[in-house]
């Protein structure tokens, strides 16, 4: 198709041969209406998901036909891509909205002072709280981050700045990828048996949980940090070397600050990834109903395990246990969201100016 199709040109407009701007909203509303009518014919009471699904398919077909007729094939595929990409985003909001709505509506009831100030010691049925689980989560995750971030960041620096291409670096990259695939439960088994070998069988305590979480967290930190360090333009490094700056100062002062916003966001995503881990902590840090601030002795409860325990082992009256489970879930979400917020503020504060 090399020949240009000549359309009757309206002399006073640049929008000839284009669909009018109102066509998209009109098509959306129309498709949803028809979708509703079809769903109404199929079901007694049409449900929202069916209407939305039918409406979207109708909308795509309508727009495809209309754009092809008016604007041509290339514009049609462009519009189709726009609609599909937008739909993907909207689709992802559905589970997010649903999870948050359920957590808030079912968890808010027990999110009171008692929940944060009492443990489950000697509590049967209603009452009690998750003070022991919250402190446990903060201790264990904090220690895990303290172990993982230096090791992970330094390894990323080694891979991106020192090792590029040599055999050690290749081996480390490969095994970091392998570690990324370590299932969380295996990390828990590893920590449990490590402690069992050192302190004897049945040694279940907080530090063991931190070890398990570190095994999961280190590769995530390394991978995200390495990707980001590699995206720092070489011109910056060369400019620093040209000014006579030693390599390690170049890394600390030039490379890291350039990537800092991504590094912080990567580390926080890594914490978010491990703070909700349940399976490894169930095995390595155990269950308890009491507050324990000693990482080196006795089981330590954590918030995810608290949620699972409340859900899986309720008493004869299920309601208070489920309420506590949802309240714990909501607390966990809030803690991670707070971490995210802090991370993002720090990242924005120190972010370098970029094109975007």
């Amino acid at each position: 198709m090399s020949a240009v199709t000549l359309r009757p040109l309206r002399s006073d407009t640049l929008t000839a041969g284009r669909l009018p701007r109102w066509s998209v909203p009109v098509a959306i509303v129309g498709s949803l209406l028809i979708g509703y009518l079809i769903a109404d014919g199929l079901q007694e009471s049409p449900n929202l998901a069916l209407v939305a699904g039918l409406g979207f398919v109708l909308f795509l077909v309508t727009m495809e036909v209309a754009t092809r007729l008016v604007e041509g094939r290339r514009q049609a595929s462009d519009r189709r891509a726009t609609h599909l990409v937008t739909a993907a985003f909207v689709l992802a909001l559905v589970p997010l909205g649903s999870v948050l709505w359920e957590a808030i509506s079912q968890g808010i009831g027990r999110l009171d002072a008692t929940f944060f100030s009492y443990s489950m010691r000697n509590v049967v049925g209603a009452g009690g709280g998750a003070a022991h689980a919250i402190t446990g989560t903060l201790w264990i995750t904090g220690l895990a981050a303290l172990i993982s971030v230096p090791i992970g960041l330094m390894t990323a620096i080694y891979l991106a700045e020192y090792g590029s291409g040599n055999r050690t670096a290749k081996a480390i990259t490969f095994f970091v990828d392998v570690m990324t695939g370590i299932p969380s439960i295996v990390a828990g088994l590893f920590a449990y048996s490590l402690m069992a070998m050192i302190f004897g069988p049945g040694s279940v305590f907080g530090f063991s949980g931190s070890i398990a979480l570190s095994v999961l967290m280190i590769p995530v930190v390394v991978r995200s940090c390495e990707e980001l360090l590699r995206l720092v333009p070489n011109e910056l490094r060369e400019a620093a070397y040209a000014l006579g700056v030693p390599k390690w100062i170049t890394i600390v002062r030039i490379v890291l600050p350039t990537a800092i916003s991504g590094l912080v966001s990567g580390i926080i995503l890594a914490i978010a990834r491990v703070i909700g881990e349940t399976a490894p902590l169930m095995i390595a840090a155990g269950f308890t109903a009491s507050l324990n601030n000693n990482l080196l002795d006795n089981p330590m409860m954590t918030l995810p395990v608290f949620v699972y325990d409340s859900y899986a082992h309720p008493g004869s009256d299920v309601t208070p246990y489920l309420d506590r489970a949802w309240a714990g879930a909501l607390t966990l979400i809030l803690i991670v969201m707070l971490l995210n917020l802090i991370g993002r503020l720090v990242a924005r504060r120190f972010a370098p100016k970029t094109g975007r």
Partner: protein
Amino acid sequence: MTRPVTHETVTESGDQGGPGVQATAADDKRRVGDSVFRLLATGSGLTILVILALVAAFLVIQGSPALLAPAETLKTQGYGEFAAWVAPFAFGTVWAAILALAMAVPVAIGIALFISHYAPRAIAQPLGYVIDLLAAVPSVVFGLWGTSVLAVATQPLYLWLNTHLSWIPFFGGQASGTGRTILTAAVVLAVMVLPITTSMCREVFLQAPRLHEEAALALGATRWEMIRMAVLPFARPGIVAAVMLGLGRALGETMAVAMVMSGGRNITFQVLTSNNPNTIAATIAQNFPEAFGLKTNQLVAAGLILFLITLVVNMLARWIVARRAEYSGAN
């Protein structure tokens, strides 16, 4: 640490001593700093190898009693003959992960493109934050949501699929009455791998060379053509890495699967029935607390199989990444 990079900080007179310091002394200081830093970096890398070696060694040592034991012993003291016992779980693990990724990857790429190239620039960052909120939801909460909300909501759809499309092998069999099927578990897994996959794809899409994009647009390409010509080819290794992260998470995810479905030892591709293949991770979680002796060894050996599956997947992904040209700014 993160002072603005100025000429002052990059010249050595800033921190390395006063203006009067001898050049040789400064050189020595540099060399010491450089070698210490290099040693720290290398040491960290080697630590990772040691940790991984310890994990692997532990799996082999603790799993070998079950692997080496005769079938008769396993039947009486364990869960039964090893290969026959673990095969259905291995199948379930891979099958659930494949289902999850088939749903998650197209959506993740779409979301990442939406945030990086379609959304108005002013709201792109908040939208990215909204998707990251999904990563803020812990697996145990997704498990809770999967059993009590999603399974209930999708059950009518499963019934409809089972009634009208049962000629497709996946939708055959007797539909579950609770909705707690492997498909529900896979949907939960898909939602769980979305944020990690999306955030990684988004990062790479944003790093696509601006000049290439503008050149494509200037030549008259539509936005979609520009993305296909300038963004996706550049981002392909990043997408593979993102899918890999997602797969790692889907294969190893324990709680969501264990809470959503009650699996058994079935090898079936039907996704709507109550007879679901359990995953290795969920099996270990469900049985480990009560296990003792040889049973513990057998569960660890199952963990070793899971480990090997992820190893193969990662090696495959690495191979795909290695075939693509480098796109790093640091080479």
